[in-house]
Symmetry: C2
């Protein structure tokens, strides 16, 4: 059944690209258009907008009415990537130089700003009545703001010794959970879903966001995140991952001191031996096992939220939860 969801997502994702070409026109005489398309054409699986459209359909709505919101979510996602790459100092994304490397920091900041405001403008174009449009705008603005609050915590807690697993979960609910749920919520609003369903979908994000992010933290140490195949980007960035939180709580004092010392090094100063030392520590103190187990628990909790949903399509949402937790970044 998960295969069905995967193909439904692939199909729905394709519907976004046409609208994107129309509403974000590609112009050769315009520096902003060039920069935006340099980033957008580099790929991305359009998973978030697809989740919006198939949720709308599963709840009996008309996906055509949700297509603007779906596109706005995809643009927002890309906006965050452009700004995060500057903030994290990432130089490669989807195997190409990141926007700030290619066009400089000023243009990269400004084109992220453009994508954010363009996304808001596209939500306003939604082909729905004023009441649902205002609800969509409300969900969208809340998502933007919450995600950015999460990013502030993420920057703040890099290599911070006071970081805990609770703080991690709070951070990730804000930074990842809200905007994972937002597409589902938008699809539900368009489908005239009742408030209880919408609230449950936000709660689903509170479980699925961390489940997804924890797997992403682990993938960074095992497969790499598709940034030139590099392993351990999060370690080079000093990122406050669940593995770091667990090691702080369970490592000995010497291990913790060495760990923080490595995470505080700049990206260029961090050697391959440093990265390997951290991975060994995470294995040694059980952080990797703990992370996998915690992700599984969060998916189970998500199933619990879905069980309480006042709707017929519970099976669909369970498959969706499984799909979201298992997919690669």
């Amino acid at each position: 059944m998960t295969t069905d969801i995967a193909s439904a997502i692939a199909e729905a994702g394709g519907r976004i690209d046409g609208l994107m070409a129309e509403l974000l026109p590609r112009r050769t005489d315009d520096v902003l258009s060039e920069i935006v398309w340099y980033h957008m054409e580099s790929g991305g699986k359009r998973v978030r907008p697809a989740l919006c459209l198939i949720t709308c359909e599963a709840l009996g709505g008309t996906p055509d009415e949700a297509v603007h919101f779906a596109l706005a979510i995809e643009i927002l996602h890309n906006m965050f990537l452009v700004h995060d790459d500057i903030e994290d100092g990432d130089t490669v994304r989807r195997d190409r130089p990141t926007v700030w490397v290619k066009y400089g920091i000023p243009h990269a900041i400004n084109s992220g700003d453009y994508l954010l405001t363009k996304a808001q403008e596209i939500v306003l174009l939604s082909d729905v009545d004023a009441e649902r449009k205002l609800k969509l705008l409300d969900a969208f603005s809340r998502t933007c703001r919450t995600t950015i609050e999460g990013q502030a915590l993420d920057i703040h807690f890099r290599a911070d010794e006071r970081f805990t697993i609770e703080t991690y979960l709070h951070l990730v609910r804000k930074k990842t959970g809200c905007y994972l749920a937002c597409g589902l919520v938008g699809g539900a609003i368009v489908a005239h879903a009742e408030d209880a369903v919408i609230q449950a979908l936000w709660r689903l994000g509170d479980n699925m966001g961390p489940a997804f992010q924890i797997r992403d933290d682990v993938i960074d140490l095992t497969l790499g995140k598709g940034r030139g195949g590099e392993i351990g980007c999060d370690i080079r960035e000093g990122k406050a991952s669940i593995l770091y939180a667990h090691a702080l709580e369970h490592g000995g004092r010497d291990d913790v001191n060495t760990l923080r010392h490595i995470l505080l090094k700049s990206r260029d100063e961090t050697s391959p031996d440093d990265v390997q030392w951290v991975i060994d520590l995470y294995e040694r103190c059980g952080a990797l096992d703990y992370a996998s187990q915690r992700a599984d628990e969060l998916v189970q909790e998500a199933y619990g939220v879905i069980e309480e949903l006042p709707l017929a399509s519970k099976d669909f949402f369970k498959q969706l939860a499984r799909f979201m937790a298992e997919r690669k970044s």
Copy 2:
């Protein structure tokens, strides 16, 4: 009469601060709140929100209904300052270190993003019916997007030899005109003004934006912009000002080569002698006189737009135009 407008602006500006404290709460345990308030408390004259409220009142509306929009404009203005300071490499704003200098570039980018999305959220809270709310959101999104398009041109054309006065006017209408008009437009929407009035107010921005920006370009060379009293910031930044455009068109080849050479230098490489050389060139080739004359013409054109306004309060808008053109940055 201009004095009356100045005091009306001072009074209206004060009404914004209370709402800001409520909707942008100041928290001691939150890094984002600390950064935002570090910037917001540094001052600013609240001119843009005041223009919104007094326009609403002049057109027979209820200013209380416009107060959220007015606050959103002020927050947007500050968001642009935070990001522009990074993009321009400005280290001092209102005689204090800029946000990126104090908190680092990652937090500065992210807190600008926060202000942008918070401003959108505050427009959504406006105490008006759904129809006017959607119009307000539309005007606000259009303004954000247009201003950012202007900023892209500004970055793109720094020290560019193809820069012309026409390009300058196009750039400044986008970067400065639209969001100068936006407060007036928001006040008019709240006051149920007819579409012809709203369109005229946008056109007013097309004249007043350049008039205001040209005076700002001149002020930078005479009085400085309040960034530690420094003269010639625009020259250090290589900014594409009207003076630069005029000098490109009217200077000799050697002068133009030296001018571009100086503008292309980094801020630190630009000496006080370089700055003085450029000011002398601008005087010698008549750029300073031309700029003042062009600003006067734009104000006269604005009067023409106002004459066509289908409303009784034309005198009010003429005073407003004069006030906007004369005030210091």
